[in-house]
């Protein structure tokens, strides 16, 4: 394995971000008076830790709440309930000024680099803006030096700072966005589908760059993606979400005999491996994703699960530790040789 895979066991396992019972419900209004007619439980009672220096993956299909989760952690939207602690500090309801200060330490890279850069600003201005907004007390020359350094770090040339977004390719734009995220030397970066808009050959460039930077600065990443193979490659731990809830937390480097939740297994089987010799079996799943307005009682995955039993319709399973470091929310978790059921 290349050296860029930071071994989990060597890092000191102290949490940087602690998330407890975090929920976000969006009201749904209807009718003439826009009365509240229901709610969408985008994130529902989610608890986990993000350890210092690790890359934690969040994987799930559209509507599972992964992007809402990212916005909650960065305090871009207020939670309905629950707490988020960043570096020992509770960040719920802190003042605007404190929040701005906190944002130096946490950054985000979005899916579409084209819409995250202002088309009227040169790359230089987009990067300079960060220092101005944060009122970093640096003389202009130092800022210029810093910008050149940042561009170099992400593999762009110094002359790219004069370019406008439309003059750059998708990969170059995403490099510029990463440079901007790194500008204030944050400790924590949320990557929300950072390569979904890029070609596969460029995707690999960006992934390798992020790994290299992660090693260099001992960065903590939260990597959000719908691509299980990519998350499995990039991260040390993986959170699997389904309809606003965590169904499994598992160490990465998944093998066929690892998933404990039937949904994780289905996700794994749905990935087409680019090797005609790879064993493929059709994923065992039925039905369709239920509407977020109307999440069934009991286990949310029940209607699509091939192992479902009576209790699954009645009682929602809790996220329990199956093995040290492995959590699963299922009444009948899958077992393999050498692994114990709950």
């Amino acid at each position: 394995m290349p050296s860029i895979h930071r071994p989990v066991e060597n890092s000191v396992m102290t949490p940087l971000v602690e998330i407890r019972h975090l929920s976000k419900f969006f009201p749904v209004t209807g009718g003439l008076m826009h009365r509240k007619t229901g709610e969408v439980k985008a994130v529902n009672e989610v608890s986990f830790d993000i350890f210092r220096g690790e890359s934690l993956g969040v994987v799930g299909e559209s509507g599972c709440g992964k992007s809402t989760l990212a916005r909650l952690i960065l305090s871009l939207i207020p939670p309905t309930s629950g707490t988020i602690t960043f570096d020992g500090q509770n960040i719920n309801g802190i003042g605007k000024k404190q929040l701005r200060h906190l944002r130096r330490k946490m950054q985000m890279v979005f899916q579409d680099p084209h819409s995250s850069l202002d088309p009227r600003n040169s790359i230089y201005r987009s990067l300079e803006e960060v220092f101005k907004i944060q009122k970093v007390p640096l003389p202009q020359e130092k800022i210029n030096d810093k910008i050149s350094e940042l561009l170099g770090m992400v593999g762009l040339k110094p002359e790219h700072c004069r370019s406008y977004p439309h003059q750059l390719s998708g990969g170059q734009k995403q490099r510029a966005v990463i440079a901007r995220a790194l500008a204030l030397t944050p400790e924590f970066i949320i990557l929300d589908e950072p390569t979904a808009a890029l070609d596969v050959s460029v995707q690999a460039q960006i992934i390798l760059l992020l790994q290299e930077l992660g090693d260099q600065f001992n960065m903590t990443y939260l990597f959000i993606s719908h691509d299980l193979a990519l998350v499995d490659y990039f991260c040390q731990r993986i959170i699997v979400m389904y309809l606003g809830k965590i169904v499994e937390i598992t160490p990465a480097n998944l093998s066929q005999k690892q998933p404990r939740h039937p949904y994780t297994k289905v996700l794994m089987e749905s990935v087409f491996i680019a090797d005609p010799l790879a064993k493929t079996q059709a994923p065992q799943i039925k039905g369709e994703v239920p509407s977020l307005f109307n999440i069934p009682e009991g286990c949310a995955f029940e209607n699509r699960c091939v192992y479902s039993k009576d209790i699954c319709r009645k009682k929602s399973p809790e996220l329990l530790e199956a093995q040290p470091g492995e959590f699963v929310a299922c009444h009948f978790p899958l077992t393999y040789e050498g692994k114990h059921s709950l």
Binding site: S169, A204, L208, L228, P283, E288, V289
Partner: protein, 326 residues
């Protein structure tokens, strides 16, 4: 039996800054009952190839500047627009990327399937409806009778894509072209739809051209693969031989830059540089600026398609001239 044959196809587009050529020297063929994959990155010319076959290149601006397309031995470039209309949807169907934009939001989905049927054959309303429901049922749409009367917004993404496939299939075409049909779908739904394509083409013994950027889908679904790069075919052959032993450096690199879940080899290798745009195609071999094996010879000479073992490859490295060149 050869269903479709594309020979040395060149397509050019008139733009404000002069003429560009997004496709040059594209050749491939597909038999009935065969699944052919067209794989490539953005701007490689996959979708333009589909448009050219369908006779749907932008009017005035785009045209086939050289080459020929044969469908069942009929020269598609020699027929009139009216004859083409009889062919499209009837003999050759196109399924496009986004099911949401292929369906009209104000019509019931069933009526949209029937519309195509009535255009191509004399059929009573009741028969058309029955046929549409039959096709929908065969594509695994539950309660097809009920879904027939629903509007697109009432259906999930996977169901909508099944409706679009039903539209493509109901006139019983001989060739189906699917342009990134699962990109807008979730992975579990994608797996179901790909399975559906496999089944349907086998059952009906029709040809399927699957256009995608996803090598996983190609490996799972296709019999043969055509790898495209910057408007050229760089490699073509049976899926097993191309994946096991890629000949073109681009194919080789492309296979190494996607993570493979659950496989022993977990390393990832990027291809340096960027995909060239149609205005900036390099001279000689179009891949040479990104190729680790490139010599000065590759910059100066355009490679020909040659046969190496079972595959066709457009690369100098298998020629004697290249070996002796500096």
């Amino acid at each position: 039996m050869t269903l479709l044959k594309v020979e040395n196809l060149n397509v050019s587009f008139k733009t404000r800054d002069g003429v560009v050529e997004p496709l040059s020297n594209i050749s491939f063929e597909i038999d009935a009952g065969e699944i052919l994959g067209l794989v490539g990155e953005t701007g490689s010319g996959k979708s333009v190839t589909a448009q050219a076959i369908m006779g749907l290149l932008p009017f005035l601006d785009g045209r086939v500047s050289a080459g020929r397309i044969f469908f069942n031995d009929q020269d598609l470039l020699a027929i009139s627009e009216k004859e083409y209309q009889q062919l499209r949807g009837n003999q050759i169907s196109l399924i496009s990327q986004n099911p949401m934009t292929s369906l009209d939001p104000v019509y019931k989905v069933g009526d949209q399937i029937v519309e195509g049927l009535k255009l191509h054959m004399t059929i009573t309303k009741a028969d058309a409806r029955k046929r549409a429901v039959d096709v929908m049922t065969s594509l695994g749409i539950p309660n097809a009778d009920k879904v027939f009367n629903q509007y697109p917004h009432q259906l999930s993404g996977g169901l909508k894509q099944r409706i679009v496939i039903a539209m493509g299939l109901c006139a019983d075409p001989r060739l189906l072209i699917a342009d990134e049909p699962t990109t807008a779908l979730d992975v579990t739904v994608q797996a179901q739809i790909i399975e559906l394509f496999k089944q349907t083409t086998r059952e009906r013994n029709i040809g399927l051209i699957m256009i995608t950027h996803d090598l996983g889908i190609i490996s799972h679904l296709c019999d043969r693969v055509v790898v495209m790069y910057a408007g050229n075919v760089v490699e073509a052959g049976r899926v097993e031989s191309v994946f096991a032993e890629p000949k073109h450096p681009y194919t080789e690199a492309l296979l190494k830059c996607i993570p493979k879940l659950g496989m022993a080899d977990r390393s990832l290798h990027a291809i340096p540089g960027n995909v060239p745009s149609v205005r900036t195609y390099p001279h000689g071999c179009r891949y040479h600026p990104r190729c680790p094996k490139a010599k000065a010879y590759c910059m100066e000479n355009t490679p020909e398609i040659i046969h190496v073992k079972n595959t066709q490859v457009k690369c100098h490295q298998f020629t004697a001239q290249w070996r002796t060149a500096s």
